[in-house]
Amino acid sequence: MRAANWRTVAPAVVVFAVVLVGWEVGVRVAQVQSFILPAPTAIAAAVVEQWPTLSAAARGTFGGALAGLTVGAALAAAAAGAAARWSGFRAGAMPLAVAANSMPIIVLAPVANAWFGLVSPVGTVVVVAVLVFFPFMINMVKGLLSASAAHHELMATYAATRRNVLWRVQVPAALPFVFSALKIATPLAVIGAIVKEYFGGPQDRLGQYITSRAGLFQFDEAWAAIVVASTFGIFLYLLILLAERRVIGWHASLRTTN
C-alpha cells in the first residue's frame, strides 16, 4: 500500500521540484528583478525571517476565513433544510440562490468596510459567509433531494417520521454533495478573506501585509505571505480529502474494493 502510494505521488513531487529549480535558475540566469519575480530561495528566506509577523497575520486571516466558512455553511444548511422541506420555499429561493451563485460576490468586499467599519474582523466573516453560502446551499438542496422515490416509499412502509427520513435517508444521501461544496467553498473562503483585507481591515492580517509590502517594493516578503496562504489552502484541501475518505468511504467515487 505504502509503495503504491509513493508511486502515485512521485510524479507530482518530481514536477514540483523541477518547477522550483527551473524558477530559481531562470530568475538567476535572466537576472529578473525581485519586484517582478523573486527567486524561490529568496521567498523561503523571507518566510523564515518574517515568520513571527507572518504567522500572526495568517492566524487572523485564516481564523476569519474558517469562521466565515462555518457561519456560511451553517446558514446554508438551515436554508437548504427549509428548501428541501417546503417546495414553495424552494421554488422561491432556488432561482435567487443560483443567480447569486453566478455573481462575483467578492466585488462586495470594499462595501463590507462601509458596513462594519475598516478595522472590524466581522467584515471578513460576513464577506466569506456570503461568498460560501450559495455553493453550500445549492449542493445541499440537491443532496437532500437526491434520495430515490423508492427509498422514500420504503420509509413510508416503515411509517417513518419526517425526522427519521431526514436523518437516516436525506442527510446521508446529501453528504457527498456537502463534500463537493466544501471543495469549492474552502478556497473561496481563503480568497474571500484575503481580498477583503486588501480593501482594509485590521493591520495584522495577510491581505494588509501583502498590499503594504508590495507598496514598499518588498516583494519577496509579499511572496512569502502568498506562499503561506497557498500552503494553508493546500493543507485544507488535503484535510477535506481525508475527511471525505473517512465519512463517505461508501460512496461510488471513493470505493477501494471491487
Binding site: 427509498h151 416503515y158 417520521t161 474494493t257
Partner: protein, 258 residues
C-alpha cells in the same frame, strides 16, 4: 378472514393536460392470510399501481382496501407491509446488517435485539457471512436477498413484491424463486407478487391474477394447485406446463380482445 380485501378499487391519475389516465378500474379481490398471489399482465396494466394502493403509498380514487380488517392506511402505520422493489434500493452508506436493521431502528427496537434479528434474517436468506459488507460488494441476486431480509426483518404480515427478480439472470432468478418459497413457508407471510414472467407466477403462486391494460382490470384468476413444496421437479411437471399455458392463453385473450 381475508388478509387483503379489495372492493371496487379504481385509480385515475390526473395529468397536467386534460386527459386523465385510468390506471385501475373496479378491482375486487380477496387474498387469504398466508396466501401467495401473483399479479401478471401486460405493461401498463396497473399491477404496480395496485401494489402501491394496497400499501397505502397511493390513495385509490374510489373503492376500499382492507388489510386484516383495518384500512390500508392504518395497516401501513401498524407496519403491516414489507416491500421489495425491482431494484434492491439498499442504502449504500449502510452495511448489509445495518440495512436490515434500518426498519427496526425506526421502530425503536433496542440495539441488541436488532443485531440478533439482523443475524436471524441473514441466516434466513443465506448471507450470514456478508453482514459487514457494503451493498455494492454484493451481486445483484445477493442484494435482492438483502432487500427481502430487510422487508421481513420486522415480521410484516404482508410482503408486497414489485418484480423483485426482474433484473436478475435466469439462473439466479430460479434459485431466488425457490428461496422465496422456502422463506414464505418458514414465515407464513401473505405475499402479493407482481411479475412479467408467466412461469415465475405459476411456480410461486397459489393463485395467479391476470390483469388487462388501460384501464387495469382483473381479467382472470388461475388457481395453481401444484403440490408443495415446489422445486426443480415442479418445473418439469406436466401440470406446471398446462398451468403456464392456461395463464398464457388468458393473457393472449386480453391482447386480442381488449
Amino acid at each position: 378472514m381475508s388478509a387483503i380485501s379489495l372492493s371496487g378499487v379504481a385509480k385515475t391519475f390526473r395529468t397536467s393536460g386534460s386527459s386523465d389516465v385510468a390506471a385501475l378500474d373496479d378491482i375486487s379481490l380477496e387474498v387469504r392470510s398466508g396466501e401467495f398471489v401473483s399479479l401478471i399482465g401486460p405493461s401498463g396494466c396497473g399491477k404496480s399501481t395496485l401494489l402501491r394502493v394496497i400499501a397505502d403509498l397511493l390513495p385509490p380514487t374510489t373503492g376500499t382496501v382492507l388489510v386484516n380488517g383495518a384500512s390500508a392506511h392504518q395497516a401501513r402505520l401498524a407496519r403491516t407491509y414489507g416491500m421489495v422493489f425491482q431494484a434492491a434500493t439498499l442504502f449504500e452508506w449502510r452495511t448489509v446488517a445495518a440495512n436490515i436493521e434500518l426498519p427496526l431502528e425506526i421502530m425503536g427496537m433496542p440495539r441488541a435485539e436488532r443485531r440478533g434479528r439482523a443475524r436471524d434474517m441473514l441466516d434466513l436468506v443465506g448471507l450470514a457471512d456478508f453482514a459487514e459488507h457494503h451493498p455494492w460488494q454484493l451481486s445483484g441476486g445477493m442484494q435482492q436477498r438483502v432487500a427481502i431480509a430487510r422487508a421481513l426483518s420486522f415480521r410484516p404480515a404482508v410482503l408486497l413484491m414489485d418484480e423483485p427478480f426482474g433484473a436478475l439472470d435466469e439462473m439466479t432468478r430460479e434459485r431466488m424463486q425457490s428461496e422465496l418459497l422456502r422463506i414464505w413457508k418458514e414465515t407464513a407471510t401473505t405475499i402479493v407478487f407482481v411479475t412479467h414472467s408467466i412461469p415465475e407466477a405459476v411456480f410461486l403462486s397459489s393463485r395467479v391474477v391476470v390483469m388487462s391494460a388501460r384501464p387495469g382490470r382483473i381479467a382472470d384468476i388461475v388457481d395453481v394447485d401444484l403440490a408443495q413444496p415446489r422445486g426443480v421437479d415442479t418445473r418439469a411437471d406436466p401440470a406446471f406446463f398446462s398451468l403456464v399455458t392456461k395463464v398464457r392463453e388468458s393473457l393472449r385473450t386480453i391482447e386480442v380482445d381488449p
